[in-house]
Symmetry: C2
Subunit: 357 residues, 2 copies
């Protein structure tokens, strides 16, 4: 595929890390070279640490395998999943940058309706640098976008918006379906390019997919924990969902915004639905309990840092979801370990000001 006709500008080049979890050679980066090459990559190698992962020449990267994770975190490495892409959150923790973009290695450059390659990273950065509008819905979508604004009836006091913590991008071609839907609709492909970015309103949860995701690490990083999945755990494929529920509750509490919509990436192939069903089936039951739990979760006013919010949430998880399954007791403990490890590597948190207008 050809590179973009106009040279890309490399926004936030020194303030953003690209985190990629992988078990294979990163040939997919060739296609992303015009957009990613100037950025620093953090590669989290999953599975067998003796395997060598090849990274195309010219990329600046650091790579961590399981031995590295164990060495750096010691006993706290128990909070990082193994044999599951949930391990990517280790990359968030070791980064020293303000922003993170994370992408799966089966995601390629998508084309917009005019046939132009989409610079997904640039759009995510635009989303993150521009405010969100969580308190009231704007019917013309992102009011800060060129050619758009707040419509009649949008309260003026809310037009300053809130700081954006998360930018959730979408996928053309293979949509992010659960195993039952994959089984029922094996051939369905997403071909609809919806030219919109929108804020997910305060109080509304959403299914956050980790395939094509950017966030402000300083604002929300410690809540981007992808849980305990994969090897030795009763569940998989709920890592990003878990993070999304926690992140949204905390963003709502702290007055931060979460956006979804553009940019699209091209998701090349569907994972095996039978394997997925095995990973997911407990989650399919559990999410029926988790979602009402997160929908009604409230955090006390004195939780003013992401860390304190997250630790409070872990208590509530243990108390309320611990009754659903023993797994959630273990997960709640891992949430605490995650915060301890985060603070060990990143220093103590400072209280953040409320981001809403």
């Amino acid at each position: 595929m050809a590179g973009p006709s106009v040279p890309a500008t490399f926004l936030l080049k020194d303030e953003l890390d690209i985190v990629i979890p992988t078990i294979r050679n990163l040939d997919f980066l060739e296609m992303w070279r015009p957009f990613f090459q100037p950025y620093h990559l953090i590669i989290v190698q999953d599975g067998d640490p003796s395997k060598t992962i090849k990274v195309p020449e010219g990329f600046d990267y650091e790579l961590y395998n399981r031995n590295d994770i164990n060495r750096i975190l010691g006993p706290k490495a128990s909070c990082i999943s193994f044999k599951d892409s949930a391990c990517r959150c280790f990359g968030y923790m070791v980064s020293k940058k303000k922003y993170i973009y994370t992408i799966d290695d089966d995601c390629f450059v998508a084309k917009d309706p005019s046939g132009k390659d989409i610079n997904a990273l640039e759009q995510h950065i635009t989303n993150l640098l521009c405010p969100s509008t969580p308190l009231f819905f704007n019917t013309l979508y992102d009011p800060y976008r060129d050619g758009a604004d707040f419509v009649r009836g949008y309260p003026f006091s809310m037009r300053e918006g809130a700081k954006t913590a998360v930018s959730h991008g979408l996928w053309l071609n293979v949509p992010d379906y659960d195993a039952p839907t994959q089984l029922v609709k094996p051939l369905e492909r997403n071909t609809r390019f919806v030219d919109a970015v929108m804020t997910i309103p305060k109080g509304t949860l959403f299914p956050m997919c980790g395939m094509n995701l950017a966030f402000d690490r300083e604002l929300i990083g410690p809540a981007m924990y992808f849980g305990l999945m994969g090897d030795g755990q009763p569940i998989g494929r709920y890592d990003d969902m878990w993070a999304g529920w926690c992140v949204k509750v905390i963003c709502d509490h702290l007055g931060l915004g979460v956006k979804t919509g553009l940019p699209y990436i091209y998701h090349s192939k569907a994972s095996n639905p039978f394997v997925n069903l095995k990973k997911e089936y407990k989650g399919i039951f559990w999410q029926e309990e988790c979602i009402p739990f997160f929908q009604s979760a409230t955090l006390p006013k004195d939780c003013t840092t992401v860390q304190s919010c997250y630790l409070e949430l872990s208590k509530q998880v243990k108390e309320k979801l611990g009754k659903v399954d023993e797994y959630f007791v273990k997960l709640a403990d891992a949430m605490v370990t995650w915060i301890e490890a985060w603070d060990e590597l990143n220093g103590a948190p400072a209280a953040i000001a409320n981001g809403s207008a």
Copy 2:
């Protein structure tokens, strides 16, 4: 402009009325002929009742002017605005159909990106006949649309959705901006066609525009009151906003869905921003009080009909917004009169079942 190349199907032909408020001849209907002609029109003539409004030949319609409204409603006609398009809600009241589509007479047929004429009415009907998803956000927009579905992580118990009460359509060309934004951006035009329909989540308010709006009269009709605007009132251009706030609170309470997005109409020309500013300026202050009021409004469980919800809301308006300005006391009384008039013309309400899954 040419008619559609494929003959339109006329869904719900005998179950839907098109309500048009106007002060001029309805030449704009010529362009809509291929889509509207088989439907019944209810024309609400505003202003001087001695003026004759010409309706293009071949349309089936009933027309009400101010004399008719006064005759039909008697003293209760006081709840219907005069010299303001808010008078359109009289048409909702006298209709005997299940569905209403209302459109302004400066709205024309828009074209989709392929250049095809958009059958706005057909899309509204599709929106209304298909469930909404107010309880959880679907990142691929309307999950019931062809080629789309619920994404991974969407709780299965919520996939049945809720009944759709309202379909809010958008506008290409002149966007629906308030006077200050019109003044600041006189040349801004909306050219972005966003190919999406979405449910506005439960608990989230939105600015409902009455220019291109459809709803299920049986589900939500009595809440579609456009308030006291225009002649003798201190405010204008908040008629649809007021209706939207009330409707959304009641839909949330009754478990009904509200959608926004497609279809687009082509909004031909901007109204005078100086005139608009005069109409709006009190609203600009008042909405800062109204929106927090509606955001925190709750209705008791025993309000199971739209009417009982609306009467309860009128009490709360009087009690809480009455302190902001005397106008809201008058408006609260008019809300009660509206319901009395509605029931007089339509019979007593029956409790409706909760529409959510």
